[in-house]
Each structure stands twice: as C-alpha cells, then as structure tokens.
C-alpha cells in the first residue's frame, strides 16, 4: 500500500472531545475516546456490506443496538497508515426517503453525526438500484466514496463497470472491490483517507428534477440560506421540507440545522479543490 501524504491537521492523538459533532456522535452511542476518524458504511441490503465491514475491522467489532432503538448496530475499528478509524455499519436500506426506523437512523447519522467519510457499498450486478441510495447520500454530503462490490459476481454474469467513467459522472471516487476476498479494500481505504484529508475533491452530482420542482427547491434554498448560511446541503433540506420530513422540520425550527453549519466552519478547510485523479479506481 502506498503511503498517503498526511495533510490532515487531525493528527493521531488529537483530542477532539469538544468538537460539536463529536458530542452529537457520542449521543448516538459512538465511543470516540481513541479514534481519529469516523467512517460510516451505508448500502442496500445484500450488497456484501457486512463483508466489507468484517474485512476492514476483523474481529475488532462491537455489536449492539442503536440507543433507544430496536435496530442492531455494528461498529469496529482498524488502523490504516498510522491513523485509527472507527467504522460504523449503518442499517442496510434501499433509500433514505421512506422514514422506516432503519432509514431514520441512517439519515440522522449521516446528517447530524457528520462522519468524516461515508462509504456507500453498491452491488455491481444491480448498480442502477444501488445508485438510488448513493445519489441520496450524495445530496446530504460530498464526503462519499462509492464502493462497487461483488465485482467477481458481476464478472461471472458478464457485467463490467467502467469505474473511471462512473467516478467522473458521479463526481465522487468509485472503487471496485471483492470484499469476500479483500480485493480492492486497500485501494478503498486509500481513497477514503484521501477524501478525508481533502486531497481528493468531491463534487457530487445533483439529481435533475422537473422544472416545477426545481423552481420550488430554488426558492426554498434561498430562504434556508437566510436562516442557516453556509449549510452545505440546503438543497437536500429543501427537498425534505417539501416531502414533509418531521425530523428536518424540527431541526430547522430548533436551530439544530443552523448549528450544523457552525460546526462546518470549525472543521479543517480542505486543501485547494483540485480535481485529483483518482488512483485505485481501476
């Protein structure tokens, strides 16, 4: 594995117990005492998400429930290039829109927990269905790496995925893996580390919507930016308000959303956004 250049000020041992998002994470039951970065694993059910999780964490994992919920959660830790990562396995969901318990947990973790990076695991044999979730996650945050898993199965079925073109189209790095054998996971982690460090700039694609919806979104985005200036996912928030998401409504009313942006300014400013070519994406 090639060593990645360290530009991240969050060096090992850096105490971040006071950062606001850390408090939020702790409320979600994540113990942060000895981790440098928190990475979340999202994906549809049956995509080999847990294989990715197991291969990355080995036996260093903890299984329990989400606080106050009857939804199981797995989290684990591993080291990569001298940094300690905490990996949180989000419930497998097909979407983030249906407001089932699983989806609420995933959505809340991605939005309010603000993990340093989100790996969206996708099944290479049913990419279309899996992109549905990836596109939704990318509306919330740009810190996304798409892990196109089950490449072996795809190969047997005569399916090839052009990862380079997919990365370009999506605006986030895509890495092909066979999690069962561990193939490609090193590349995956290298890309994740680069995204966290800001070495790879991600410019996630926005979903194209009918003109009628676009107009409504634009109007709301302007209003939202008045209340929460600098909110990176104002468009997604507008979308959720139009859909009528009670949790987001209340976050807006209580000022929780506005506080999310404060936190953003605390975070280290990414290196100058240069479109770094994505290695490891072959």
């Amino acid at each position: 594995m090639a060593a990645t250049k360290q530009t991240n000020p969050t060096a090992p041992g850096h105490d971040c117990g006071t950062c606001a998002s850390r408090v939020e994470l702790e409320q979600m039951g994540i113990r942060l005492d000895s981790w440098d970065h928190v990475v979340a694993l999202a994906g549809n059910p049956n995509t080999g998400k847990s294989s990715v999780f197991n291969s990355l964490t080995g036996l260093k994992q903890h299984v329990g429930n989400w606080p106050g919920k009857t939804v199981s959660r797995a989290e684990g830790g591993f080291r990569f290039n001298g940094l300690r990562y905490k990996l949180v396995d989000l419930p497998g969901t097909y979407s983030l829109l249906s407001a089932s318990k699983d989806e609420e947990i995933s959505r809340d973790f991605i939005l309010f927990g603000k993990p340093d990076c989100i790996i969206v695991v996708a099944d290479a044999t049913a990419l279309e269905r899996n992109l549905n979730l990836a596109l939704q996650v990318m509306e919330i945050t740009g810190k996304v790496v798409l892990c196109v898993n089950l490449l072996d199965e795809a190969k047997r079925k005569g399916i090839t995925v052009d990862l380079r073109s997919l990365s370009r189209d999506l605006g986030v790095p895509c890495v092909g893996t066979v999690a069962r054998t561990g193939e490609g996971l090193g590349d995956l982690m290298r890309v994740v580390a680069a995204v966290i460090a800001g070495e790879v700039a991600t410019v996630p694609i926005r979903t194209q919507v009918p003109a009628e919806v676009e107009r409504a979104l634009d109007e709301l985005v302007m209003m939202i930016e008045g209340v929460a200036p600098g909110l990176p996912n104002a468009r997604w928030v507008a979308c959720r308000l139009l859909d009528g998401d009670l949790r987001i409504r209340q976050a807006l009313l209580s000022g929780e959303l506005a506080r999310l942006t404060d936190r953003q300014q605390d975070a280290p400013v990414a290196a100058a956004p240069s479109l770094v070519s994505i290695q490891g994406a072959q």
């Binding site: 197991n54 079925k157 005569g158 507008a238 308000l241 859909d243 009670l246 009313l253």
Partner: protein, 494 residues
Amino acid sequence: MRFQEPPELPSHTPLPTGLAGAAGFPEVTVTQAPAEAILSRADALRRDFQTNFRDQMVESIYSQAMALAARSVRRDGNNRWDLDQRIDRIVTSPVWGLPIMAGMLAVVFWITIVGANVFSELLFDGLFLVESWGVSLFEWLGAPWWLTGFLWNGVYRGLAWVVSVMLPPMAIFFPMFTILEDLGYLPRVAFNLDWIFRRAGAHGKQSLTMAMGFGCNAAGVIATRIIDSPRERMIAILTNNFVPCNGRWPTLIMLATLFVAAEFPPAVASLAAAGTLLLVVLLGVLVTLVVSAVLTRTWLKGAASAFTLELPPYRRPSILRILYTSLMDRTLFVLYRAMWTAAPAGALIWVLANVRVGDESLATMFARMLQPLGRAIGLDGAVMLAYIIAIPANEIVVPTLMMVYAKSSMMMQEGGYEAIRVLLVDQNGWTMLTAVSLMLFSLLHNPCGTTILTIWKETGSLRWTLLGALMPLAIAFGVCFALASVARLLGAAG
C-alpha cells in the same frame, strides 16, 4: 345544565398504538420566525404541485440512476444469471417449492436432534463431573451441607443442565439456519408461504421468525425486526411462542418416544416418534395462524400490509462469518440470557426440595396443592409445579418433574427412558392421555422468562408483554381442559 368549563382547544393526548415509532421526536423549544416562514412556504409549494412531490422525486433519482448505469455498465452475455433463475424456478415452483422447503426443514431438525444428543451427553458428563469435584472440595473444606447443596446441587446444577441441554442444539441449529440465510434461501421461504400468512392478516416474513423460533423463541422475537409493519411485527412477536424451541424439544421427544413410539413395533418406532413431532410442529403452525387471524380481527385490527421482498441472488456463504454471527450473536447471546434465569431457578428448586414443612418437602406440598388444577387439565400437581418453576427456562421441566415424583432432594439426571417409564407409568399412573395433554401444554403454554423479557425489550410495552405471556397460557389451559373434559365424558359414557 350549563357547562362553565371553557372547553380548551385540543389537548395533548398520547398517540395511539402503532404510531409509537413516529412519536419519538424531541420537543421543539426554540422557534424562529424565519424558520416558520420557510415551513409554511414549503407546505404551500407542496400543495401546488401537479403530481405528488415524492413520486416526482423518486422518479427523478431513478431516471438519473438509470442514465448513469447505462453509461458505465456493460453486459456481455448472461450465463450465471440463468443459473440463479433456474434454481429459483425449482425452489419456488408451484409443484416442488413447498415439498423442498419441508424437506429442508426436516433435514435441519434431524441433524439438530441427532447431533445435539451426542454433544449433550458429553457436556452432561463433563459438567456433572465438575459438580462432584466441587462437592468434594466443599466437603474437604468443611463447608456446611446446606451451602454445598445450595451452590452445587442447586445453582450450579441448574446452570449445568441448561447449558448442556441448550448449547448443543443451538450451536448446531443456528449455524445451519445462518447458512440458509447467507445462501439467500430464506427469502424464498417467505415468498412461498406469504399467501398463507396473508390470509391470517400476517406477513410472509413471519415464517422466517418462526423458523428462528425453533432454535429459541427469544431469538425468534428479535428476528421479527425484519418485519416493517408494526402491526404485523406485533403479531409475529405474540405468536412466536407457538413454535417449540429447543428447550421444549427434550420434553416432546421424551413423550413421543415413551408413549407414542411404544405403541408401534420397534421397526417403525423411531418413525412414529418423528411423525408425532411433525404433527406437534404442524399443530403449532396451525395455532399460530389461527391466533394471528384472531389478533388481526381483535386487538390488532387491519388487513395485511404490502409484501414487497427482495429475493437476492444466491451467494456462497462464508463459513467464518457464519460461525461468527451464529455463535457470537445468537448462540452465546441466548445462552447468556438463559443462564441468568437458570441459576436462580436452580437455587429455588433446591430450596423447595430441601426445606421441610412437617414431614414433607415444600416441593411435595406445593405439588399436592396444585393437584386439583393439574387434574382439571388432564395432568397433575407435579407437572404444574415443574412448569411454574421452569418459567425462567423451559429446559428444566423434565428434571424438576422427575425430582418431585421421586421425592429426591435435587434435580435428577434422566436415568434412561426405561427408568422414566417406570416412574411415570407404573408409579404415577400416566396414560397416553396424560402424555398427549403434556405435549399440548408444552407446545402452547407461556413463553419462558427469557422470551418474556425479550418481548418486553422489543415492544417496550408492559401491556403487550402481558398479553404475550398470558394469552398462550390461557390457550394451553383451555385446550387441555377441553381435551380432558371430552376424555372424561367419553370415559363416563363408555
């Protein structure tokens, strides 16, 4: 009459059941005028849309996903594709689907029962050897008899019994179950059986939670998390008890062997025993469906929700992962909880057997007091007492029963089927009717303490937990009472 109370505007009343999931939102404390303006603007915009906003949004995302996939995915043939479908056409086929499923279930049971027997005996011998060492050690140390008895013959023996009865079948059943799960076969079971469950107002996935219940009802209750609809999940939780868990298998196997198989020539005896077990299981499934249907029409009103279930491609299971999840998550988890309930039960049994009132032990006295209740349902007081003591863990029913019958001072090891037959039939007058009644009671009675605790944790409601505990008990008493009454009438007439 004039009413002076100004009728306050809509008050805060608790949300109706079924909505609990939606209610867990934090109170809104800070309100900002601009934020409210955004919300009311959003509401207004939503109302003005020509078509439903959600529909438009999902359509947009999917058409984008379709376009992206079209640009980067290339298909060359579709060789393996057809293999998946070919397997599916067989395992979900109108003709072969159900027989294949029943066959698989039978094989899983057979392996579990046969394999568990071997390991159970080994564990038994090992753990009871440790007990005798412990007793010797305490005697050598000069500990009083009651301390030795309480700790080793009470607490430890309860634990040892539960571990040796429960661990082997679970350690065999759960990995096999996980293999089927990992292979991707289980969703096909739900697909095959959904129609039947829908008729009872339940969900096809309930069949999977029931399959899990064969291993352990507590695990089955946790498995109901896969059911989305709260109503159908509740049905699955409340009825999971009607599939006999492996804590109840020993009782059922013993009765089937001692009473039913004994009526047949030795050549087909084991088949007859297996057939009896199958009948009991089918009866349990039937009761599950009937109770589900009744719940659907009473406390849990409503029609079945939509069944949309993915049938994922078949995948080669990874053995390490299976061992890990099935042993760590399921077996050890269940065993851990069971041990916490079995230890105090062991202590209680020892106390009952050793505290004497007059010239009889507490156990004998309670059994005498429970005699009329037991008689009414075709059983006797000793069985009732055994079931009360075994509430924490059903595995200890048989040993407790033996202890009460033999007036012994500790739970007994089974001394071979012949010895049990002599004890039950010759000394305590058991008949075929008693055996059938006990099998029914064992199948239908209340869930064990671990399961009740799990129901409480999963539902978060005392009311549903009580219903989940008391409804099966009422059904068990009702059915056994009816059977006993019919038998008595026939006996009187004949």
